[in-house]
């Protein structure tokens, strides 16, 4: 009687914990996964990271998962995870370096349209240290704005008022800018229009049906932009501007 009860309790406990992974457990799993990765057991490490990723996420976690995939030879999955990591931490140098290496192993070389970029520094600035960076900044700026406005009510000294007025102007701009950036960030994170080709090869056709003329062939690991979806076909665009239709399911959204 007693052992069965114990067993039941244990099962309940396991079920409970498996259901809701708390932060401490996640951290422990990550440490275990790190050592598995260092020991060369990449598949094991990936499984552990994956279980953490059910409840938690971070750029570092996705980056590590990408590394596992890369080591296991799945370049497309590696690229997918690096891209996801970049979403969370734009301009991260480690992720960019590994993504570049992984991209070199993709069969398709797509010359991207020349765009004006300020490099990863700017991307890092826009992205902030984490997805909540600008939202937090906007809160601080807002609080400071009203604090300095309140200060104006009580300070009558000339120099003091001048300082406070400058502060009000600065924090007002700061609030607007950081809110705008937080909004952009939020929109970027919610983007669903970029995808990585996951099937070994896919014919890109001129129309959304199987009879369409094959315009070009894409291979695993290539990044595309999804423009629209019609009847199980999606219109994709390459970085070089080429557009065509592929069946839904050949790519995975970043």
């Amino acid at each position: 009687m007693r052992p069965t009860t114990l067993l039941l309790l244990c099962l309940l406990f396991v079920a409970n914990t498996a259901h809701a992974l708390d932060k401490a457990q996640a951290d422990r799993l990550v440490i275990e996964a790190d050592s598995a990765y260092a020991a060369g057991e990449h598949a094991h490490a990936l499984a552990l990271y994956d279980s953490v990723n059910t409840a938690f996420t971070s750029s570092g976690l996705l980056y590590n998962m990408g590394n596992c995939h890369y080591r296991m030879g799945d370049v497309a999955q590696a690229i997918l995870h690096y891209e996801r990591a970049l979403r969370l931490a734009p301009g991260d140098v480690d992720v960019l370096a590994n993504l570049e290496l992984a991209r070199q192993q993709v069969k398709d070389r797509v010359a991207s349209m020349p765009t004006f970029t300020l490099g990863s520094w700017w991307a890092r600035f826009l992205g902030g240290s984490d997805p909540d960076h600008w939202a937090r900044r906007s809160l601080w700026a807002c609080a400071l704005l009203f604090l300095s406005l309140s200060g104006l009510l009580f300070v009558h000294h000339r120099t003091g008022r001048r300082v406070l007025l400058t502060l009000v102007a600065l924090t007002f701009t700061g609030t607007l800018v950081s809110t705008a950036l937080a909004y952009t960030r939020q929109r970027d994170l919610a983007r669903q229009d970029e995808a990585i080709i996951m099937t070994p090869r896919v014919d890109v056709r001129s129309t959304p049906d199987a009879k369409g003329v094959v315009l070009f062939i894409l291979h695993k690991g290539t990044k595309v932009t999804v423009l629209q979806e019609v009847n199980g076909w999606q219109e994709i665009e390459l970085a070089n501007g080429a557009v065509g239709w592929t069946p839904v399911g050949t790519s995975t959204v970043i």
Partner: protein, 585 residues
Amino acid sequence: MRTTATIGLLLVLTFGGISRLSAQEITFQASVDRNTIAVGEHVKLSITLTNARGSFGAPDLGGMMVVQGPFDLPNMVIINGQMRGSLTRTWLLTATRPGRYTIGPAQAKVGGGTIQTEPIVVEVTKGNATRPGDPQAALGQQRDPNLFTTISLSRNKGYVGEQVIATYMLYSRYANLQSVPKEMPKISNAWVEEVDLGEPRWEDKLETINGVQYRVAVLRKQVLFPQRSGTLRIEPFVQTCVIDRSFFNPGRNVEVRSNAVEYTVLDLPPGAPTDFNGAVGELEMTVTAARTQVEVDGSVDISVRFTGRTNLKLLEAPVLELPGDLEVYDPKVVDRISVNAGGMGGSREFQYLIIPRHDGTFELPAIQVSYFDTKTGTYRTLSSEPITLEVAPGDGSASAPVPQRALQSDVQLLGTDIRHIRTGDLQLREQGKELFGSWAWTAGMAAPALGYVLLLGWHRRRTKAAQDVVGTRRKQADKVAQRHLALARQALDRNERDTFYNALSRALNGYLGDKFGLGPAESTRENIQERLSGLPDGTALAQRYSALITACDLARFAPIEDTPRGTLYQQAAALIGTIEQHFRA
């Protein structure tokens, strides 16, 4: 052999009495010492002719072989003046195969007639071979018991690349034999190393095969390393031999053809390590550094030495994975390889010259080489210890003859690989919980604004109140009056007359001055009375006020107290209360 064995022999009895001898009985008998022998054992065949002279040869031996003989044993006995003579001829015979052998009758010509012996049956049983020996030799013996050649292998099967020794032998029973090779087999699919034997010569010891003794010469020895799996076949070799050569006889040419041998070559098992260097057999590796402390531009000799029994000549130099800033030259190969009867063995040494071009501590990684161990049938990995090289900044003396190089060189990119995973705090966040747009964020943005609005409202009210002095005074009037009244009450209790009246009049005048917004100078009795009269029911209030002030003034300035002080106090308090109620309404 038969020709030599069959010797026509004339028995001449030198004694004269032939006629007398003829009187004796003539006998011709053949006998063996035993009728049953084992293979390899000898049987002695004796044929005796008594009291006659005649010639006889060896009988038909029925397949048995002569090991030794014939030996003649003449015997002469004189008995009673009568001479008896006999001749016994003996052979040692043997058989290579078990069976039933019949030694045929021997014939002797005596006088004009012929006499013969009885045939003898010899049983040869399997028995123990005298020497397990070389099966090829036994087979060769069956081809020609007197002269044959063999090829034998040290093993019947082995792995690709595993060495096997082929021996070419000549077996002969002739006293005089000259032999030259005529045809040597070509061996394909194998790497062949000849063992240097010098001039072929007879071995010191005779070899006995199935009881027959042979002179043996090793003509040739080869170490073979099969290169392909399957069957390796060595075709027979042909040797031209001159036999029976003597001063008078030019001899006879005989071509002797050996057996062919087949060798089964097994593939190496799958799962060869990536650093497998192709060596099959036994191998050891020693890695030594001549020194581990050196100055910049000095030189370090690293020796990688392989010893063992395998095809050392095919060993290639292991690639040293050196850290940058170390220059390494192509290794010098020093061989101490011997090919002898036991196969190929010895050592091959690779000497690397390393010149550090920068100071620091360098770790030369362990060298790993795998080979196939034929003893266990598995791949074995040899691994050396890593060598730590301490390179001290030189004083330039080491590189004195070397022209000055540029001090800087580009960092060399030796390979590319992804960066390592991020360890430590990954800053995990719960999925899908962004701050922006959440309730917390909205509240956080709204809270300061709300707080500011509240603060602003409070501030406005305060400022307005500060600007409205009259209103404030009016509001404060009651409090001030009450304070003065309290003072008056104290004075009343203590029976202090002046203080009481002062406080009472100040309470009244101050209160009303405040209420009507009058300055200290304007707060005269007349002004106050006038304002009071302006109020509804003002006349009565003005009269009450006037009466109180008059009483106070009288008491203060003249010693006249019409009304008791307690009554005055109560009247004043009541008046203030009434006016206050009036203003509140």
